[in-house]
């Protein structure tokens, strides 16, 4: 069973099914693909990760690969895995609103992705205050612009990319505030929005949203290195405040399964301890993608492959020689993807939650 049909889950399902496993894939969204289907920008990486291809196109390719294995794959969309019962290994699921059912898989790959973090500030309940994921869904899945003038909160890759996508949709991005003293996202992403004239205010935060029934403005303020307000409050005229202040791994099912967990700041929250095969402390459970630590989709796809391959191996679907060969190839690709400036932090985090071998 694969829980989550984003880049990691799809890759895991493909890898396991290609190796001959029977796969059940559940995903809470209406369509498979996870965040990929809203990603209209081109991906980094190498040819192996389809660099230069837009995210939604990558989702299409993965769907085709899955389709090629359809005899061995059962897909449940609009279906949430609501609980894991450690005593008997049952996963409870709900289709739509009230169609409950249970599955007892022999192996599980948790590819549950991430949740957005949000900031508390006065009036953040007003319509017009969005998470970046919602803005991307509205614009890039449903073709609806969220407003006319946007303040972006956060200059990580998501904040920068969504700012760029807003401009592509004809929406004005009035500015980007970032609490840190440097841009967290890739330099090239920042350069794209800067050359379109969007200011990036470092060491600034949003203090409150203005408005009665809807957002009519935002108050921003400079902060010091202890994140305390120092500068004058500045009112800016916007009807959208978009928060892109980070993600945290979705790991409730892993907790329920009693997997050994670790809090790893570099991976943005609690993650399951895993070995190099992406297997958790529970022999029957693997983890992949953002659920294993917040990272790029390119890495999530490779992790998914590793987890799918590991499950196939544990079920005797592939022999050790073939397994080791493919694992080495995937490990090399991951090492490549993590070899840059941002990857160094990820590697530190992974070192904190990786065990050599589970005692089996």
């Amino acid at each position: 069973m694969v829980i989550g049909g984003g880049p990691a889950g799809l890759s895991a399902a493909i890898e396991a099914a290609t190796s001959g496993c029977e796969v059940t894939l559940v995903d809470s969204d209406l369509a498979l693909g996870g965040q990929l289907i809203k990603q209209t920008h081109k991906f980094f990486g190498s040819k192996d990760e389809r660099a230069g291809t837009r995210g939604f196109k990558i989702a299409e390719t993965l769907m085709e690969e899955l389709e090629a294995n359809k005899d061995r794959v059962t897909i449940h969309s609009n279906c949430t895995a609501t609980g894991f019962y450690a005593e008997d290994g049952v996963v409870s699921c709900v289709h739509g609103e009230d169609d409950y059912f249970r599955i007892k898989p022999t192996r599980i790959i948790m590819a549950t992705g991430a949740q957005e973090r949000l900031l508390p500030f006065p009036n953040n309940h007003l319509p017009g205050v969005y998470g970046a994921g919602a803005v991307q869904t509205l614009m890039n899945v449903y073709g609806v612009v969220p407003g006319k003038k946007v303040l972006m909160v956060g200059a990580g890759n998501i904040g920068l990319i969504v700012s760029y996508q807003l401009m592509q949709a004809g929406v004005q991005v009035v500015g980007i505030v970032e609490a840190m003293d440097k841009i967290g996202g890739y330099w090239v992403h920042a350069a794209k929005v800067r050359r379109m004239g969007v200011p990036i205010y470092l060491r600034h935060t949003v203090k409150e949203a203005l408005g009665d029934k809807i957002v009519t403005g935002a108050v921003i303020q400079e902060i010091d290195d202890k994140f305390q307000p120092t500068g004058a409050e500045v009112n800016i005229d916007v009807d959208v405040i978009c928060m892109a202040v980070g993600l945290t791994p979705t790991c409730e099912l892993l907790w329920q399964a009693g997997c050994q967990m670790a809090f790893v700041p570099q991976l943005c929250g609690y993650v399951a301890q895993r070995d190099k095969h992406m297997r958790t402390s529970n022999d029957d459970i693997w983890v992949a993608g953002d659920a294993a630590g917040i990272e790029e989709a390119s890495s999530a796809m490779v992790e998914g492959r590793i987890a799918g391959l590991g499950v196939a191996k544990s079920l005797g679907k592939i022999d050790s020689g073939e397994y080791s060969k493919r694992l080495a190839e995937f490990a090399r690709r991951l090492a490549d993807l993590r070899g840059g400036e941002v990857g160094a932090k990820i590697c530190q985090g992974i070192a904190c939650c990786t065990v050599n071998e589970w005692g089996v």
Binding site: H41, K42, F43, F44, G45, S46, K47, A51, G52, T53, R54, M167, Q168, G170, I183, Y186, W187, V188, H189, A190, A191, K192, R194, R195, M196, G197, V198, I200, L202, S298, D336, L337, R338, G339, G340, E341, V342, G343
Partner: protein, 158 residues
């Protein structure tokens, strides 16, 4: 504070640049990130092989033909081609990536923007292509020669 403060703009060798018809590429990619399509898509091998995918691109200008394939391919929109042989002493031709709307029309006058979005000159659109047929367009713009190291984007004037 701003992205322009990081170095990374490496000018091609002047002598070759001033005589190379069709222009030479400039890649502004100053950070180690895992990305190599500029190399893998280059038809002439002008963007040298990467020993590590996180390497910054390095260019063999003798081999660069100014074809602008990398301009269309680069996910970071970090490549531009500058042709100094285009228009005598005064003008140069720049081939810039473009993913916005509206599309610039051939012959139209557009605003040429620097790295922080300030208009630094007007430019004339010579040609608009879509080399990879993937919605990243390459806009060929005639610009003042002395502004080629400032201009990094265009804006359609309504």
């Amino acid at each position: 504070m701003l992205t322009e403060s990081r170095k990374g703009a490496i000018e091609p060798p002047r002598d070759l640049w001033e005589t190379k018809k069709n222009g030479l590429v400039i890649i502004e990619c100053p950070q180690r990130i895992p990305c190599n399509p500029c190399h893998t898509s280059c038809p002439t091998g002008a963007v040298k092989p990467f020993s590590d995918i996180n390497d910054q691109p390095s260019i063999d200008y003798e081999k660069c033909t100014g074809c602008a394939r990398c301009v269309a391919v680069c996910p970071g929109l970090a490549c531009v081609v500058v042709d100094l042989t285009w228009g005598g002493d005064k003008d140069a031709l720049m081939k810039l990536p473009y993913e916005m709307l509206p599309m610039p029309e051939e012959g139209a006058t557009v605003d040429c923007l620097n790295r922080v979005g300030e208009p630094v000159s007007k430019g004339k659109v010579i040609k608009v292509t879509e080399p990879m047929h993937d919605k990243t367009h390459v806009v060929h713009v005639e610009v003042p020669k002395d502004k080629v190291m400032d201009i990094r984007a265009i804006r359609v004037v309504k």
